[in-house]
Symmetry: C2
Subunit: 384 residues, 2 copies
């Protein structure tokens, strides 16, 4: 049976037609005036989305590239760092920092929970000699569908001088992040999430404190060197050949984001999450994260006892064209994840729930067809 | 709130990405070898979809253009014709034939019903002097959502020598039509229906009997002249400049149709119709056509008493991005129509029903959210 594709994973997001069309242009000279004008426009709009007055640096890379750039641009080998981890992507920051010779201390929270600001405050208070040079925190942990309260966590850092680094790869542009106002020193994100682009671009913004640390930092870097990106940016350029088509697309996706309005986008993502959670609960499914810490962009769902989440994803994909994400590490056999990030709208949630109901029915899970959909419909109707 | 577009009208259909991509190529010389090779391939594949061994003629035009071509290529002024009409598009054949000086007799059936083969047989039996030169019949009447039984109607023509002309604009490629096997003498269709193209192309196939009539026909024609199209076709060309981009798209849409398989496509459309009808009935809505004559490609629905169908369509479009069709003529204030024609899949029906439920709830119609969706889900689940 013919199917239409629904990419319901926490990135890459579906790419809007307007972005695809913008990308479908002949490649231009990346050292010429047309590119420079476009790139300046892009950088200016990125600052609005990042909610920062500082330059937003663009790296042709996966989001993980910007995480690496974050580490190597502000630290020196032997520096002590505190990595707050609530899942796979928190752990990744620790691994990168360790690989470059930082002394990594992890502050772990159980998967499915958010980081507790009080615990962070307590740990930093105990750092009498201010040995911790940087604190790394994940904004939205896509592996568990949990969003950390960055405003509270930044406040919890108090007057400790450690740099505050936030991985906003899956959140920036979908969940509010007041980079400057909340005192984030370094924030990174990727193209294929809320920015609604195909993968291939990563971004980083640094505060004045972070730039000062950059001067003293001795970790080896060339491609990730923030200074060289900043210098090129001043000329409307990139240090190395950028993926020009993606920059075409980025300009259009930023237009889309600013047309819709950041606050409207945050509200849309919250609505999608509330709809999907209401639908899943109505079907009797258990969610990994509590409502109070639930992500707006991805929802982790426990498969019913006796059902392999891979079976659910296979039927969803093969019969209904709906791609869901699996679980990481020890959650692989326990959960599946529904992404609702980027170019996703309420009707996508209704389709996903309807297909999930049929999938569960096929797997002999006791489900009332339409009950998940109707729970989500009630949420949506209350909005109109 | 951001929306995604669902074009749920009985043509133009949503256009698949592969077709859009095929169209996005530089225009080529329509008198050159590249075009000729492509056009020969297209014509060969059209014959498969038309289920005919005869040439399929392509006109750059709306479907109505091919209806006009049907009239002017086989008739002479003063010829008597019988037009079987069950709605707007049957009436259109009568109007065109009259405009060119044919003596038109209409065989009308109530809107919402199919043509009765026995009534047609009876009328032709009474034509002792064989004055009727042609019988015009609509295969699928999009204005009412009724499909005529062409096989039975062709059989009802018996050994009467009248040419049998079928308007298959909204059916060909979605509802089975055995052009040669059932003895259809002339069949027309359009691009923007089951062929899943943007509008701009119309097609006509003629039997040997129709070609013989063409030689004797004296109605004035230039652009619509079948002989000139046939002569050019023998050289892999068109008599006048064709819309080259649409031909690019047509080649790809024919590939898609043949890959999916005609019988699978017919089954998919039947499933869509059964799903949507089950859902609408579960919501307590009345359908214009009985199940026995219901179209696979469009469903006409009566608005609940006191609710203007335009209100329903407005809310569907503005809140949920779903475009439905209105009613024609006296049905305008009574019905709305849901198209499920061409590039449409079961998940589109689920979205449409879910949105319709919310729309009706907003209009204070007593509806159980999820009940229409679940009725359609049950139909779909029974298929898997």
């Amino acid at each position: 049976m013919l199917k239409k594709p629904y990419l319901m994973i926490p990135g890459p997001t579906p790419v809007p037609d307007r972005v695809l069309q913008a990308m479908h242009r002949p490649v231009i000279n990346h050292r010429g005036p047309e590119y420079e004008a476009m790139f300046r426009d892009v950088c200016c709009k990125l600052q609005q989305v990042f909610k920062t007055k500082n330059e937003v640096l663009t790296f042709p890379a996966a989001g993980t590239g910007a995480m690496e750039a974050a580490v190597v641009n502000i630290l020196s080998p032997g520096d002590k760092v505190l990595v707050v981890s609530i899942g796979v992507f928190g752990d990744r920051f620790a691994e990168i920092a360790g690989r470059y010779g930082a002394k990594v201390e992890k502050l772990d929270f159980p998967w499915g929970e958010a980081a507790a600001p009080a615990v962070l405050a307590d740990r930093l208070n105990k750092d009498k000699h201010k040995e911790i040079k940087a604190v790394f925190i994940t904004h939205n942990e896509t592996s568990t569908g949990v969003t950390n309260d960055i405003k509270e966590l930044m406040a919890a850092c108090g007057d400790h001088p450690a740099l505050r680094v936030v991985d906003a790869v899956s959140s920036l542009g979908a969940i509010n992040l007041e980079t400057d106002a909340w005192g984030v020193d370094l924030v990174v994100t990727g193209a294929q999430k809320a920015l609604m682009l195909p993968p291939g671009l990563a971004f980083m913004a640094m505060s004045e404190r972070a730039w000062a640390a950059n001067k003293a930092s001795t970790m080896p870097r060339f491609y990730w060197d923030a200074q060289s990106v900043r210098k090129s940016l001043a000329k409307g350029q990139n240090p190395y050949t950028p993926p020009v088509s993606l920059i075409f697309g980025l300009q259009e996706s930023l237009n889309l984001l600013l047309e819709e309005g950041l606050e409207n986008i945050f509200a849309r993502h919250r609505l999608l999450a509330v709809m999907v959670r209401a639908g899943l609960k109505a079907l009797g499914l258990e969610l990994l994260a509590a409502d109070s810490v639930a992500s707006s962009v991805v929802t982790a769902v426990k498969a019913p006892p006796g059902i392999d989440p891979k079976q659910i994803r296979k039927i969803m994909r093969e019969r209904y064209g709906i791609t869901l994400a699996g679980g990481h590490k020890h959650l692989e056999k326990e959960i599946f994840r529904i992404g609702h990030l980027g170019y996703v709208v309420p009707t996508d949630i209704l389709v996903t729930l309807a297909a999930l109901e049929m999938t569960l029915a096929e797997l002999k899970f006791d489900v009332v067809l339409g009950s998940g959909v109707s729970a989500a419909q009630k949420i949506l109707l209350a909005e109109v």
